[in-house]
Structure formats: structure tokens, C-alpha cells
Subunit: 491 residues, 2 copies
């Protein structure tokens, strides 16, 4: 099997090759849209079920709103409309007909032009707040805690599998509240849900913070985010949670009568994570041999490969493999026996390594004679001969250890790659050297932020929630600053 290009050689190519060769996704015939292949989709399903449970545990329900947004609704909240107008796929017609000049071909039927164009949702605030208008009369109708799993479309000129695609899958929570305090609390609560999920399920450590005004979601009062650091020193925004204030309530005239009978606009939040998380997952843990998956989201946690030469050995090793597989499944481990006879063990080893299966068990005749198996860890590449006695428990513990190990490793990398810069020379040295997060003082103005971005391509990833008050001077302008923010080049 041809080796992947190395991360050292070309990180970007390594990522593209890995996504395709591990069977996660591929480009489709539709510009900028991807096909999520079964192996990639099954990882996404694991993410979905973990997130969905967390949403429900925090009182949210799922619902479904239309794919299309009539243009007049889309433009109602001006900032939101302005932010997304340039990347909207627009439906203008509702019928095709036979092309008279081209037998066997179809053409758009000019007589089937829509009176009002429909925007394919880039996000659903507009259609949802237009709906909530009818759901909300009084404080008794609040809060509304709704989430939607859906596809959205943002027309992107430069796309990359999972990281930036014209169509992507996501969830979008949209909540409505009677008070500002409650809405802010919800915004932060869902940010915490995302951070806990990223760390405990994806083994991706994240920094929780707030975006600057220029990086804010179009239509939000405040955008909270979780930011992760990839192996190449670039940051990746892994999830956002927006406090929308009363902007959408005002745009769609959504008022409620309080306990005192007084009418007021409703407060809103929205929050989302997408298939982009697949990109974050891949780039956080994988190595030059392929994907490395945290056990929590691995479709196969343990692969069992029988090793044999004779027919008798084949029967014996497969039988032993089956028994191990069954005993693992019994305790809830996603184990699989690969007893296909048309591929050699070496090929299988490489394949499951490429696919990031956390543990591999090889069962050969010599192992069987010694009541043992060969156990190989994907993350550390360690191999050991292990007794069959107590194997299931051993593996159960190892999976927990691997999960924790991946988080620790990523956390250490993030810590080592978070550096303070106290002047602009240092700032650029770090950026053009190892990269990573740069913690630096900023004067708080969009002008300085923009100037830094223009000169270095680094953006302010966030103002960390846990930053300490530390007076200083802006690395760029020398003006006073009340605390450090995190800069990085980003995906």
C-alpha cells in the first residue's frame, strides 16, 4: 500500500489524501459539495448521538424547519442578510422542460419562474424567527429550546473536504427567552456543552472565548466560540454559540406579554457545530500512517485479524477470533473480526492503521498455543503479547487509557504552542516560526485587528473567557490594553 505523503512534507496534501484514502469523504460532481462516505458518516453519527443526548439532557427538543427562505424573510434582519448574501444559492424556478433545440436534454422552464426567489438556508434564524412569531404570545410560551439537525449551503469559492464545503451538515439550536440574563446563560451553557463534548468525546482540548466584533456572527450581539489548535499550528473554530439579543425579535416583530402584561421583544440565542468537526478530529490526532481515532467516536474500536497458513489454522484462529469478538461485544465494545480470505494480514494491518482503529488484535497459531494474542495500539504504535485471560477487561481499560492519552497529548501540544508575544517582532517571529496560539495585547480597535490581519494573516481567535486582567500595551499600536487575546492563523 502506497504511503501517505508526510505531514512534514505537505500538511495540506497529507490531510486531503488522508480524508480520501481512509474512506471518509470525497469531492462530488457538484462544485464544492462532498460525498460523506460510510466510514466518515459513521463517525459523524457517533458525534451526533453524543451531542443529541447532551442537548436533550439540557432540555432541548428537535424540530425541522424549511430548507428554503423566501428572499423577503431572508433580508429582514439586515446584518444577518448582509453577512450571508454573497454566498447564497438561490432557487429561481420550479420546473424543467424538454429543450426543443436539444433532444433528450432538459432546460429550465422560463414559464416556471418563482414570484419570489428562495434562498437555500445558509443558517435558519430568519425562517425560524418568522415561525416563532406565531408560537410566542406570553411569558408562558417561553423559553423555547429547539434544535435542528440539517444541511445548509454557503457558496464557497475555495473548498476543502469537511473544513469548508458549499453544503455541510450541522445542528443549529435556536432558543427564545423572556430575559437577557436567561439568554446569556443559555449561550454560555451551550458553549460549555460543546467544550465538554470536544474534550471528552473528540479528545480535542479547546479554548473558550468570545469573538471580537469583526469576527462575530452576522446578526449577533456576542459570539462565543471554542477554538482548537491543529498540528500545523493553525487554529480551527470548532463551535459557536451566539447571544442574538433582541435583533431577530425586532426584525420579525416577536413580542411577548410579561407577567405584568407589558409587551417586550423576545431574547434569542443560536448555536451550532458542523461536519467541520470531522476536520478538527482528523487534524488533531492523525499521523503519517493515517487516521488516529479516539475510541469514543471510532466506528470500530477493536479489529481482530486471524493469522494462518493451513486450513486447520484458519479454522482455529477464526474460531478464536470470533470468541474474542463476541466477548468484547458483550461488554459494549465495538469489535470486528476481519476473516476475509482475499487479503493478507499485512494488507489488513495497514488498512486498519489507515482507518485509525484504536486497537488491533492478531490471533495466530503460536499465540493460541500460548493462550495469548498480539495487541497493537494505534496511537502509540506499541505492540505486546497479552494473555487471553482477562482480555476483555484489559481492552476496556486500554480504550479509556487511549482516549485520555489522546486528549493529554493534544493538550500538551496546545500548551506548548501557546506563546506570549510582547511586541510585534516577537509576534511575527512566532507566527512565521512554529505558529500556534499567540497571546498578545491588543488595543481593542477593529482597525488594529484589521491591520494585523492584513500584514500577517493572523486573526484574533477569541478573547479567552478565563483571561486574567493584565494591563499592557498593544503589540501593534502601542496603545493601552486591559488584557491579552489569542491570535493565530486559522482554518
Amino acid at each position: 500500500m502506497k504511503k501517505l505523503i508526510s505531514r512534514e512534507e505537505n500538511y495540506s496534501e497529507w490531510y486531503n489524501e488522508l480524508v480520501v484514502r481512509a474512506g471518509l469523504a470525497e469531492h462530488s460532481a457538484v462544485r464544492g459539495c462532498m460525498v460523506i462516505k460510510p466510514y466518515g458518516y459513521s463517525i459523524w453519527e457517533k458525534m451526533q448521538s453524543e451531542l443529541d443526548r447532551r442537548f436533550k439532557d439540557t432540555g432541548h427538543e428537535n424540530a425541522y424547519f424549511p430548507l428554503f427562505v423566501p428572499k423577503s424573510l431572508f433580508e429582514a434582519e439586515e446584518k444577518n442578510a448582509e453577512g450571508f448574501a454573497k454566498e447564497c444559492a438561490v432557487v429561481t424556478h420550479y420546473r424543467l422542460k424538454n429543450d426543443p433545440s436539444n433532444p433528450g436534454k432538459l432546460m429550465v422552464d422560463p414559464e416556471a419562474k418563482l414570484e419570489e426567489e428562495l434562498v437555500v438556508r445558509p443558517t435558519s434564524e430568519a425562517i425560524i424567527w418568522n415561525t416563532y412569531k406565531n408560537w410566542i404570545q406570553s411569558y408562558r410560551d417561553l423559553p423555547i429550546l429547539v434544535n435542528q439537525w440539517a444541511n445548509v449551503v454557503r457558496w464557497e469559492m475555495r473548498t476543502r473536504l469537511f473544513l469548508r464545503t458549499a453544503e455541510f451538515l450541522w445542528q443549529e439550536g435556536h432558543t427564545a427567552h423572556a430575559t437577557k440574563e436567561e439568554a446569556v446563560e443559555e449561550t454560555v451553557k451551550m458553549l460549555d456543552v460543546y467544550a465538554e463534548f470536544a474534550e471528552n468525546i473528540l479528545a480535542i482540548p479547546v479554548i473558550k472565548g468570545v469573538k471580537t466584533e469583526s469576527e462575530r456572527f452576522a446578526g449577533a450581539e456576542d459570539t462565543y466560540c471554542i477554538e482548537a489548535l491543529m498540528q500545523d499550528g493553525k487554529a480551527l473554530q470548532a463551535g459557536t454559540s451566539h447571544f442574538l439579543g433582541q435583533n431577530f425579535a425586532k426584525a420579525f416583530d416577536v413580542k411577548f406579554a410579561g407577567k405584568d402584561g407589558k409587551l417586550d421583544y423576545v431574547w434569542a440565542t443560536s448555536w451550532g457545530v458542523s461536519t467541520r468537526l470531522m476536520g478538527a478530529l482528523i487534524m488533531t490526532h492523525s499521523d503519517d500512517n493515517g487516521l488516529v481515532l479516539p475510541p469514543q467516536v471510532a466506528p470500530i474500536q477493536v479489529i481482530i485479524v486471524p493469522i494462518y497458513r493451513t486450513d486447520e489454522e484458519q479454522t482455529q484462529t477464526i474460531e478464536a477470533g470470533k470468541q474474542i469478538c463476541e466477548s468484547l461485544k458483550k461488554i459494549g465494545i465495538r469489535a470486528k473480526l476481519d476473516d476475509k480470505d482475499n487479503q493478507k494480514p499485512g494488507w489488513k494491518f495497514a488498512e486498519y492503521e489507515l482507518k485509525g482503529v484504536p486497537l488491533r488484535i492478531a490471533v495466530g497459531p503460536r499465540d493460541l498455543a500460548q493462550n495469548s494474542v498480539e495487541l497493537a495500539r494505534r496511537d502509540t504504535q506499541e505492540k505486546a503479547t497479552i494473555s487471553m485471560d482477562g482480555l476483555s477487561e484489559r481492552i476496556e481499560n486500554l480504550l479509556v487509557e487511549i482516549q485520555q492519552g489522546l486528549l493529554n497529548k493534544a493538550f500538551e501540544r496546545m500548551t506548548q504552542n501557546t506563546r506570549e508575544a510582547n511586541n510585534f517582532e516577537e509576534f511575527k517571529e512566532i507566527l512565521n516560526g512554529p505558529g500556534g496560539f499567540i497571546s498578545a495585547h491588543w488595543d481593542g480597535t477593529p482597525e488594529t485587528e484589521e491591520a494585523i490581519k492584513a500584514e500577517t494573516k493572523a486573526t484574533i481567535r477569541c478573547i479567552p473567557l478565563n483571561r486574567s486582567a493584565e494591563p499592557g500595551v498593544c503589540v501593534f499600536s502601542g496603545k493601552p490594553s486591559s488584557g491579552r487575546v489569542l491570535f493565530a492563523r486559522a482554518y
Copy 2:
């Protein structure tokens, strides 16, 4: 609470009112598109998880393919294209811009016209077979057993919530096989999965059959279906499974090398069920008081309502309710205690009746004194005073009984409303009287089928798989027939 209009008075209005008042779905601002509300969506989630498990148990994996189909791919399989061309939403532009003549408004940017129009998928055979082309080289790559959960769009002029909407949610399985036999086997296997699911989970009895040529899926060689009968005597197609032959493989040039090295076109199937099943579920079981849900798909299986006057009674009955709720949850029953103080018990009773909750437990002070509760069944409207001892087991058994009872009742109704007609007078008498399924001889020609439809609005729902060979004469043409087919007016 205002009563629903009765089924007797206006079945169609009853359905519309019920869907909205039970909080299942509502019309949106987008013509023909619906909002699936949280209560409706949670029923759909139950259906999804039951179906998804069955798909995986039969060896299928989920994947995701693009929402858009480039026009040139869409038109590749001619019959399929012809069948859907008239109901396609078409994306022609990828950007909006400020409307210079209308400040604050947006317009489609004429400079952002797509070179090739994109069809919003009405079904995904085209985009998927164009993808499979690259996945399949030899017999070793087969079978491909993939399913997709997705939204699709078919522009409909006359829409009804769940039954016929421009956008709907569905799953579509798309499989590829080396032999015709295997593909036919798959088609029938998935039909059986649908039938088993409909009967055991939705408590909807169905007739399995094959469609006539004129009712076939555009591009299929054979369309298998399950047909259900609604309370008003109209049939509803609840799921279809298509044997696609080599049509799509030929249209997209998908060949595989067999074991002998010879190239041949791949054989295909596709199969789907949609949110239309929600309509079938509602219309099969519900009554003039509202929704009736089979326990298997009821988001709440048991609702517990405390009855009290004094504060002390409130504390006691809520405490008892909590205990009952916990003990039910412990054995996996979806129970809920409604201890809200701002609504009276009578209001709650009506509300949960409208929402179709299978069992209601009322806990009052007098009940408590006697160590009992009042238990009411939604399906039969029976009420009884039941001892608290062994209550959980009693309820567990009752839920099974209700599920079975609903299926039996629907099955009896279907049997009673399936009648033989041996001439066209009888045929019309039944159709204009009770309606239902009419089992009648047909000469096998599309002309006769069309003539019957034109005169009576009845269509051939299916040629039942289990029909017996019975020579006869066509009710319309008097020509010979080899067996009966099922006619009905249909949704």
C-alpha cells in the same frame, strides 16, 4: 378546549386540524413546505431509530450525498428525469446583492449565474450512481449497501401536511449488486423490512404488492410497495422498494469485472419511506378526540397528572406521582409527570388526549388513601381504579396490549373494507359507498387502468404478492384476467 371537527363531518378538515392542534406540524412561510414541530419530530425520531436499526441489522451503512444534482447528471437517466422534471426546484444563481433601486433590499446578482443549473434533489439516484461509478471496478466492490437520511424537494401544487409537501424528510437506500437475482432479493427484503416495521412499530397493517407499469417509479423495472388503508376508505402508499435493473448503471456507465474478468453493468435497487408515514400513522389510529399513538412511537407513553385542592394535597400527590414516574422510567417506559400548577387537571386530560398519550394516570388524595390510582386508556377510553402494588408491571403489559390492540383494530377495519367486485357496477357501488380496497379482475392493459381511473378516480394500488391465481374477466373490459388486483382511491 374547543373540540375537533369530527371525522364524520369532514375527514379532511379533521386531519388538518388534528395535525396542527396536536402540535405535530404547521404550514410555513414557504409555499408547500412545513415546519415539523417538536412533538411531531419526536415521533419521527422514533420511526427513524427503529428503521435505522433494521437497516443496519440487514447490513446497510449510512452515507451522505449532495443536495444538488447538476442538470447534466439529472437528465442522464431519461425516464427518471422525465418523471421528476416537472417538479424540480432549480438553483440558477449563487449570490444576492443590494438592490440599487430598493435600499435595504436584496436582489439576485445577475453576474452570479451558474454555468450549469443545479436541481435540488427530488431523489438521489443520479448523483449517487454518478458516485458509485468511481467506487465500483470489480465484483469485489459489490454489493454496496448504502442508505441516506435526507431532505428532498418535489414541487407540488396542492400540498397537505405530511402527506404531500414540497420538501419532505425521508431515507433512501441505494444498493448495487453483481447479479439480477441478488438485486431482486434486496428489493423484496427491504419491502419486508418496511412491512414488518409498519405493522409492529406503527401498528399499521399493510398489503405488500407490485405496482403496475403506470404507477412505477420513474426509472425502475419494478416497484414494490406497501399499501395501507385509512379510516375514510382511501389507500395510502406507505413505502416503496424499486428494482432498478441496469438502467442507472447504463445511464452512468457503471460496469464491474466479474470473477471471470468479463465486464457487465451493475444491478441496482432503491427504497424509501418518508415523513408521509406520519400522515399514515395519524389517519390510521386517531379519533374525534385527537391523536391516538401506538406506544412504540409515543414520545410520552404514560402521563401522570396529580389532582389536588390544598397545598398539602399538592405536595402529597406530586410526591406520589414522582415515585410512580421514576419506577416506570426505571423499566424503560417513557413516563412524564405534569406537575405544572397553572393548568387544571381537566385541561391537562384534554391536552394529553389530543396528543394521543397511550396511558394516563391520575393521582388524587382519595386514590392515595386507598393505595391506588386512576388509570385511563387513550385507545379504548376505558378508566379503572388500579392498585399501586405491581403498577409498573401492569402498565408494561398494558402498553403491549394497546400496541397489539391498535394493530388488530386496524387490521379488522382493513379486512372489512376489502371487497371483491365482479363487475363494473359493483365496483362503482363499493367505491361510491364505503370505499376501501376493491379486489377485482383487470385485463392487464394500461388503457383499461387509465379508463377506470378517469371514470372513478380509483387507481390500481398494487398487484398483491400473495394473490392466488384465479382466472376471470376484467370488470371494465370483459377481457380475460389471470388474477385480482387491488383498486382504491388513494392519498
